[in-house]
């Protein structure tokens, strides 16, 4: 199976996760780990950069649903940015844009936090 990779960067008071490859039921735990670690260290403002993500399955989408709620309960959020059209259409189809903030660029996502 294709690989997946999640790396956390710190930008000011935000944490940016770069996701790469294929996010599905098998690779989702890796992303869940990163998000759990952030919550453990009380970091609730997160931007996920999808620039290098090739594919996301329903199990991958589920990760965001679970963690966005946790972040929001603590006055934070997960904002999603820089999705490829194919990836975006999956989010779009399920109605994610109606519930969560999705931005074309990382910058816009960061700015949204600053507002």
């Amino acid at each position: 199976m294709a690989d997946f990779n999640a790396k956390v960067r710190v930008f000011e008071d935000l944490n940016i996760i770069d996701v790469k490859g294929y996010l599905d039921a098998h690779t989702a735990p890796e992303l869940e780990n990163e998000l759990t670690n952030l919550i453990k260290s009380n970091k609730y403002k997160v931007v996920v950069n999808f620039k290098e993500l090739e594919y996301i399955s329903s199990a991958g989408l589920g990760v965001f649903m679970a963690y966005i709620e946790s972040m929001r309960e603590n006055n934070g959020d997960i904002k999603l940015a820089e999705m490829k059209p194919g990836v975006y259409s999956i989010f779009d189809l399920l109605g994610f844009p109606l519930l969560y903030d999705i931005f074309p660029s990382e910058e816009e996502a960061i700015n949204k936090f600053k507002q």
């Binding site: 039921a25 399920l94 109605g95 519930l99």
Partner: protein, 689 residues
């Protein structure tokens, strides 16, 4: 029962022997038999048969059977010590009470008789004990049947003992009989004493001990033999029984010869003992290794075995394993030391030898500075490596700083290698069991799914429906169904539960129950989906959601009402044109705070003749080819457009064929399901009418 019978007879035998002894004691003390040949013979016969019975009894209860030969040999020291003591006590008593040896014979007083009885009892016990123990040693590790030699020896010892009376002055002319028997007995004793193969199987340490024991035994035997020629001993012993006197002498000679042979054999064995020791350990370790390999089933037990065998094979004083488990190292299988000590030693050696370049570490510095209570002086660390994969390390601890030679190291390394393979096997086995379990689980899920999804499309007036469901190996959680809402209304649901496997299949099953009951109460797609969402709040976890389309078709008018909860938009082919029906709506289970209800829309339109409605899950468009390219919407729309004139069943076949060809070199990741509905009111009307 068997056991109790045995103990009863054992008891009876013991009682009988006791009774026998009492008879002899009474005979000795109260019957003045001296000088009366007939009575003297009776006395000898009594003692001979008592000895025989006693020996047979001891053999029968498997006396000393399980003892180590070294222990048996050492016990002779105690027996001979006792004999020597009793000789000394006899001499002291005779001195103190002024008894001369001539008082013992021919007519001793009562006091003398008691002394004689007690003294000879000791001789008797020692002789019998040594005889039976020697028999154990003779029969130890013997391959060939040596019964004949042994029995001949016993016969000659008894004959020599019985005829020892001819050695006396009175029967001097028959002396040759006694001598012949004695010589034969001694020759046979010597021959039997060569059966000492058990010495070879002793450890070096034990051989050294045996050497010492045999020297002392030889010396003790000689001292006692000299003592037996003393007049005090002779008269005290002979006045009791000539038989016992000589019997005892021969037994002592036996021990002396045997010890002598043991001494020289052990002496010659000693230089090669260490090598022999190692070789024999190597041989037995081969058995251990096969034991290891066979223990893959239970990894806990396996680690226990590795520790046990490691101590034995390595000759270590303590042992532990430091395993790499999912990136963390963990100390387990700790034997003969505490877990915390093992952890400290592991941390220390690790700090010394990053990457374990060094295998042998002297713990002197560690003990001095960090851990003064540590008892171990050195540790040998062997890597647990199999198929180039490192599982961890084995730590062999020793009290001493004995350096290991190349063969020792090779031995430990080989043991570690075998252990690593056994560990690897146990991991693999666990994995494959887990995999099998998962596969069985998936099997159940697939069967469940197949039983939930209707096998056939309903037969309708005015419309033709075809549907297809191809489950993925991992079970995708696709679901579709048809419900009769009222006489004219057909409800169609197509849904995709997020996630895979048994959990998705369970949610599917629940979903079916929910729709089954809700469609009896409600007729509007939007109402139904909103209700479903509310119910799902109690069922779904936060990570799960369900995309769905619910459509209601009026079978008379062709009016279609449809709501979409985050699902792939249904495709409507009308007049050769593809239309996507995409009312707003988020997936079920994504929001329970009213947002779902708020966003959900409902569309309504009327189907015309030959209109084709295509409902599907993303398994269709996400089918992948060998380069991981999606089948995609465009290919789908193209096929629907091209085969729009065909019947739904024909289109189904074409589509499945196209998808199969497209994804030929790639496995199916998700369930593929779709429903094709064609409205043909007037056509069927024509046929029917």
């Amino acid at each position: 029962m068997q056991n109790s019978i045995n103990t009863i007879t054992e008891n009876k035998r013991f009682q009988f022997l006791l009774f026998f002894f009492a008879v002899i004691a009474i005979f000795q003390i109260f019957i003045p038999y001296k000088g009366i040949v007939f009575l003297e013979i009776i006395n000898e016969v009594l003692i001979l048969s008592f000895t025989a019975l006693f020996v047979l009894n001891l053999i029968l209860i498997e006396f000393k059977k399980k003892y180590h030969p070294l222990k048996i040999t050492s016990s002779f020291l105690a027996a001979f010590g006792l004999l020597l003591m009793s000789i000394i006590v006899l001499n002291i008593t005779m001195n103190v009470f002024g008894i001369s040896h001539s008082d013992f014979s021919p007519s001793p007083g009562l006091f003398e008789k008691i002394i004689i009885l007690l003294f000879n009892s000791v001789i008797f016990v020692v002789s019998v004990y040594v005889l039976v123990s020697l028999r154990e040693l003779f029969y130890l590790r013997t391959v060939k049947n040596i019964n004949t030699y042994y029995n001949a020896m016993i016969v000659f010892i008894v004959l020599a003992s019985v005829t020892s009376v001819f050695n006396e002055e009175a029967y001097k002319e028959y002396n040759f009989i006694y001598l012949a028997f004695t010589v034969n007995a001694i020759i046979l004793i010597f021959l039997n004493s060569l059966r000492i193969s058990w010495i070879a199987f002793l450890r070096v340490k034990q051989k050294r001990q045996l050497l010492l024991v045999s020297v002392i035994l030889v010396v003790l035997s000689i001292i006692i033999l000299i003592q037996t020629t003393d007049e005090n001993f002779q008269s005290a012993s002979k006045s009791f029984s000539y038989f016992l006197h000589n019997f005892n002498n021969l037994i002592i000679i036996n021990v002396m010869i045997y010890s002598f042979v043991i001494f020289f054999t052990t002496l010659f064995h000693l230089p090669t003992a260490e090598v022999f020791d190692k070789k024999s350990r190597e041989v037995s370790s081969m058995q251990y290794f096969s034991k290891l390999i066979n223990q893959a089933l239970d990894s806990k037990e396996l680690i226990h075995t590795i520790s046990d065998l490691g101590i034995e094979i390595g000759g270590s004083d303590a042992i532990f394993l430091n395993l790499d488990l999912d990136g963390d190292s963990k100390v387990i299988g700790v034997k003969n030391l505490s877990d915390s000590d093992a952890n400290k030693i592991a941390a220390y050696t690790n700090s010394l030898t990053p990457g374990f370049g060094v295998n042998y570490v002297v713990l002197k510095e560690f003990n001095n500075k960090q851990h003064p209570e540590n008892r171990f002086a050195s540790v040998y660390i062997a890597a647990l490596k199999s198929y180039a994969k490192l599982h961890g390390h084995l730590y062999f601890l020793k009290y001493s700083e004995i350096s290991l030679d190349e063969e020792d190291k090779k031995m430990l390394e080989t043991f570690a290698d075998y252990s690593a393979i056994a560990l690897e096997n146990s991991y693999l086995l666990r994995e494959s069991i887990e995999k099998e379990r998962l596969e069985k689980e998936l099997d159940v899920a697939r069967k469940m799914q197949m039983s939930i999804v209707p096998a056939e499309a309903p037969k309708l007036r005015n419309a033709e429906i075809s549907c297809s469901f191809i489950p993925a190996f991992e079970v995708g959680g696709d679901y579709y169904d048809f419900f009769t809402l009222s006489e004219n209304k057909l409800g169609i649901i197509i849904a995709d539960v997020s996630g895979k496997g048994i959990s998705a299949a369970f949610i599917m099953a629940e979903l079916r129950g929910i729709f089954e009951s809700l469609t009896k109460l409600k007729q509007e797609p939007k109402d139904i989906l909103i209700f479903v969402n509310q119910i799902l709040n109690r069922i779904l976890d936060r990570k799960s959601f369900i995309s769905a389309v619910f459509a209601v078709l009026d079978l008379e008018t062709g009016e279609l009402v449809l709501s979409r909860a985050g699902h792939c938009p249904p495709v409507l082919l009308s007049n050769g044109v593809i239309n996507l029906i995409r009312p707003e709506g988020i997936a079920l289970g994504m929001n329970y705070q009213g947002k779902f209800d708020g966003f959900l829309e409902e569309v309504k339109f009327t189907l015309k003749d030959d209109d084709l409605l295509f409902l599907y899950t993303d398994g269709v468009t996400e089918s992948k080819n060998s380069t991981l390219e999606d089948f995609g919407e465009n290919r789908l729309y193209e096929i629907i457009k091209n085969y729009g004139d065909c019947s739904p069943d024909e289109i189904t076949n074409k589509l499945i064929k196209e998808i199969t060809i497209f994804s030929e070199n790639n496995s199916q990741h998700d369930d593929i399901s779709f429903i094709i509905l064609k409205w043909n009111k007037n056509k069927t009307g024509e046929i029917n009418g």
